[in-house]
């Protein structure tokens, strides 16, 4: 929600929390998934450690920024960037929906491009939704559609 008063302490707490969660989610887990996939599914970009680190660091920076600046205009491009980066990440990690495994003389190729389009749909929508959401809030605050402020807590 935009236009809310958020204390600096709360912002820092959110940012630290985002840092911990995103480090685990985007660096630690993908690293071990990549180790598991290495040799099994060589086409997946997750098997390349530099891919995991680069994207993991980018995700973490953007998510921490978005958490720190939550409710402010500057968080909008950060949220959209995370969403778009997720699309690129999923696309690269799955080799565009074409994965292959070769084991003891048998080759198995899996293609799921249409399914991939469906899977990245929420991320694409999230990238579009962030600026739209901000614009709607701004408009509502300017035109005074929102109800008059009520003091709930002091």
């Amino acid at each position: 929600m935009y236009g809310q008063t958020i204390t600096t302490r709360k912002r820092i707490t959110s940012a630290v929390w985002a840092l911990v969660v995103n480090t685990i989610f985007w660096i630690v887990i993908p690293y071990y998934v990549g180790v598991f996939l290495a040799g099994r599914v060589p086409e997946s970009a997750l098997t390349v450690p530099i891919f995991v680190y680069e994207f993991g660091i980018l995700f973490t920076i953007l998510e921490v920024g978005a958490a720190f600046f939550q409710g402010r205009a500057v968080s909008v491009p950060l949220i959209s960037a995370v969403a778009l980066l997720t699309v690129v990440y999923i696309w690269d990690a799955t080799n565009g929906g074409l994965l292959g495994v070769e084991t003891s003389g048998i080759t198995i190729a899996l293609s799921f491009r249409l399914m991939l389009y469906v899977l990245v749909l929420p991320s694409i929508w999230a990238a579009i939704r962030a600026p739209l959401s901000y614009m709607v809030w701004r408009r509502a605050m300017k035109t005074g559609i929102s109800s008059p402020p009520t003091a709930s807590t002091v």
């Binding site: 929600m1 236009g3 809310q4 008063t5 003389g105 048998i106 080759t107 198995i108 190729a109 899996l110 293609s111 799921f112 249409l114 399914m115 469906v118 899977l119 749909l121 929420p122 929508w125 999230a126 939704r129 739209l132 959401s133 709607v136 809030w137 408009r139 509502a140 605050m141 559609i145 929102s146 109800s147 402020p149 009520t150 003091a151 709930s152 807590t153 002091v154």
Partner: protein, 160 residues
């Protein structure tokens, strides 16, 4: 002082779209996973010797051998299933008949695969007894699985 604001209609609309997209993704992924599991279980049961087993025969006539495999493909999933069998060999000594079957949900189809080896002794002495076979299973339109394996094992020197 914390300020409570009424959520604008536009935000509710955006939330509605988000929920709709989430439901679509959940439905598609759920149905594909369910279908894949059901089809896999059915085919596995079929190959393990269920009610209608996969029937294979290698008939030797002179030096020519014909390998015939009839597989009943059930489709217990929610999406149409297409199964295609092909193979290739560097020389014309081995000829495969590309075969394909479309099975609608709830139905079953029979895949009739034929492979002809013109000269079995030549095939055995050629030094290359690997026939690259491909089994393509496609759960239209979302997922396709292609398995490449050696069909050379189907060729029995004395027929079977």
């Amino acid at each position: 002082m914390q300020v409570k604001r009424k959520t604008p209609m536009g935000i509710w609309a955006l939330r509605g779209v988000t929920v709709a997209i989430a439901l679509i993704v959940l439905l598609v992924v759920g149905s594909v996973v369910y279908s894949a599991y059901e089809d896999y279980s059915a085919v596995k049961a079929e190959l393990a010797g269920g009610s209608k087993q996969a029937v294979g025969a290698a008939v030797l006539r002179g030096s020519m051998e014909t390998v015939s495999i009839n597989i009943t493909v059930p489709n217990n999933g929610l999406y149409p299933l297409n199964v295609t069998l092909t193979c290739n060999y560097p020389t014309s000594n081995v000829v495969c008949q590309r075969t394909s079957v479309d099975v609608s949900p709830g139905g079953e189809g029979v895949l009739r695969f034929r492979m002809t080896v013109s000269d079995v002794s030549q095939f055995e002495n050629s030094g290359n007894q690997v026939i690259n076979g491909t089994v393509a299973i496609s759960m239209t339109p979302f997922v396709g699985l292609t398995v490449g394996t050696d069909f050379g094992g189907f060729v029995k020197p004395g027929g079977a």
